[in-house]
Amino acid sequence: MAILTIQILNSLLYASVLFLIAAGLSLIFGVMRIVNLAHGSLYAVGAYVTAWLIGRGISLGMPLHWLFVLLPVGALSVALIGVVIEPLLLRPFYRRAEEYQLLVTFGLIQILEDLMRLIWGGTPLSADTLMDALPIIRLGGLLYPGYNLVVIAVGVVAAVILWAGIYHTKFGVMLRATSQDRRMASALGLNVGLVYVSAFGIGCFMAGLGGAIVVPTQAAVLGMGIDALVIAFVVVVIGGLGSLKGALVGAVVVSFVRTAGIQFFPELELAVLYLIAALVLLVRPTGLFGTA
């Protein structure tokens, strides 16, 4: 029973990180109609920056609870990168065929992946001090790190804030208006360029946050972004590209299937995920909750 509880908690932990990545990917697609292939790499950048900041913080003798402040800082730095990338590399392509956007973001993957290697080298960067800082929780005889519960909580809070922001604020109305009809929104006096930059920035922030909160539980390693991207793809394909609810449901489905897969059919665990995605695309091309 305790093992089951731990497996469920592990699934939720994974779901929370996946949701952060996939929601950003979905938001960017929903508003800007761009499939950002570099999204996984931005998540990895978030992990690296955070791990590096925490390492610096420790060597400068920062008090332990202050180190937690560095998590959102890591996420914000990724948002900053996004705010630079959008006008520089993506804006020239809104009028051209979507193939070009895919290619630019593919080029961006290669650049970001190698920049990470250039800056932080090939050895994994760990930040497990944070994980050790929180108490370990007892679950019917088994031990579970308290930090993992924080990650789950961050995922839940992020989902609530994102939902409230999109459906209950003026900015959310602007986002949704732009996503439905860019030209009409522009004709009504919306600054579409600003909406695009902020949507991309928020999307990148989510990816960065995912990387920042995951890095204390594992280390930042090369290639983590590319792996994360294809899983995030599976999530948004199942849930529906451009749908917040879809990203949430997709993340939960994928993480539970994956946890079960590792337990019961480890060889086919990845193949099953992609097959589910392909099946959903066949039956409901727009995903479970997609509209576009």
Partner: protein, 334 residues
């Protein structure tokens, strides 16, 4: 005599054939002047060109961007490895005889699923299906060797007529294999040229340009796309079959989706709106990557910058840019 020259000028196909013949002659004469390493590199380039040529039937002529062509390249390579592992004969013709149907069946099956969608959903679906094959290649290690992959020794060529062993075997193999690949390459180019200029090819272009009108004309759009997918996948698979004896090893990397990205890059580099674009792209990309890897540890960064710049500045690729330049010069003359 003058009239003959005139007609020669008026008929671009003759001019084209003459240019192709000249290039072919140069390619045939090259091994006499180049060292083994250069020949090996050029062979890789020709193989990449075949893969990109097949890929471009979908992107350039049918208007579908596949992000999963690594799957067909991989099926080609792995079917050769399986032949070596479980059937035994080390004959290149046998590899092709088994490999091509295997690739054709795979691309027919996966293509049947993929062509139900277009645009971005087509891209994601091709990617997802290629990832299924990747994870199988990685995880079913008792069949595929897992991340270690499978070894493929040097095969004999021309029904066992040419075998390669002994100290000079490697050099002999490279030279002979170059001619072998060149022959296959020429057949592929001619075949693709005929397809693209046939009524079938014109129908594909009509579908690419305006799906609704093509449907009004009575074209069965999904079937045309499916057949295009089948041919495209088979070409790329053939490239995989030719690639594996040269490389000597097949690993799951070539089925991973980033390899599909490289194929897309190749086509774009040369220019996907031209017939010759992917061929030029395949050869240039091979050299570009090899020299990037040789000069810097951070070759991916270099390639990424090239790709982004290319898309920003030269969206029509090398061949497109050259054609435009030629046009401009020609206009100045007259």
């Amino acid at each position: 005599m003058k009239r003959e020259i005139q007609s020669f000028r008026d008929r671009p196909i003759l001019r084209l054939a003459a240019a192709a013949g000249l290039i072919l002659l140069i390619l045939i004469l090259l091994p006499a002047y180049f060292e083994t390493y250069q020949m090996q590199l050029l062979t890789y380039g020709l193989i990449a060109a075949i893969a990109a040529l097949g890929f471009n039937l979908l992107l350039g002529y049918t208007g579908l961007l596949s992000f999963g062509h690594s799957a067909y390249f991989g099926v080609g390579a792995y079917s050769v490895a399986f032949v070596v592992q479980y059937l035994g004969p080390h004959s290149m013709e046998f590899y092709i005889l088994i490999g091509v149907p295997a690739v054709a069946i795979t691309s027919a099956l996966l293509g049947y699923i993929c062509v139900r969608h277009t645009q971005i959903f087509f891209g994601i679906l091709t990617l997802a299906l290629s990832q299924v094959l990747y994870s199988l290649a990685l995880k079913l290690y008792w069949v595929t060797g897992g991340s270690d992959g499978l070894r493929v020794p040097r095969p004999s060529l021309l029904m066992g007529l040419l075998t390669f062993s002994g100290p000079s075997g490697f050099r002999q193999f490279i030279t002979s294999y170059y001619y072998y690949v060149l022959a296959v390459f020429v057949v592929c180019v001619v075949f693709m040229w005929v397809i693209v200029h046939s009524p079938f090819g014109k129908a594909l272009q009509a579908i690419r340009d305006n799906e609704v009108r093509a449907r009004f004309l009575g074209l069965r759009i999904r079937r045309f796309r499916w057949i295009s997918f089948l041919i495209s996948g088979t070409f790329t698979g053939l490239a995989g079959i030719l690639w594996v004896p040269l490389n000597g090893l097949t690993t799951p990397d070539i089925v991973y989706w980033t390899f599909s990205g490289e194929i897309v890059f190749t086509a774009l580099l040369g220019g996907f709106r031209n017939f010759t674009g992917p061929i030029v792209g395949g050869i240039v990309f091979t050299y570009l990557k090899t020299y990037a890897v040789a000069t810097t540890e951070y070759w991916q960064l270099l390639l990424g910058v090239v790709l982004v710049t290319l898309v920003l500045v030269l969206p029509t690729g090398i061949v497109g840019a050259l054609a435009k330049l030629g046009e401009r010069l020609g206009m100045r003359k007259t």
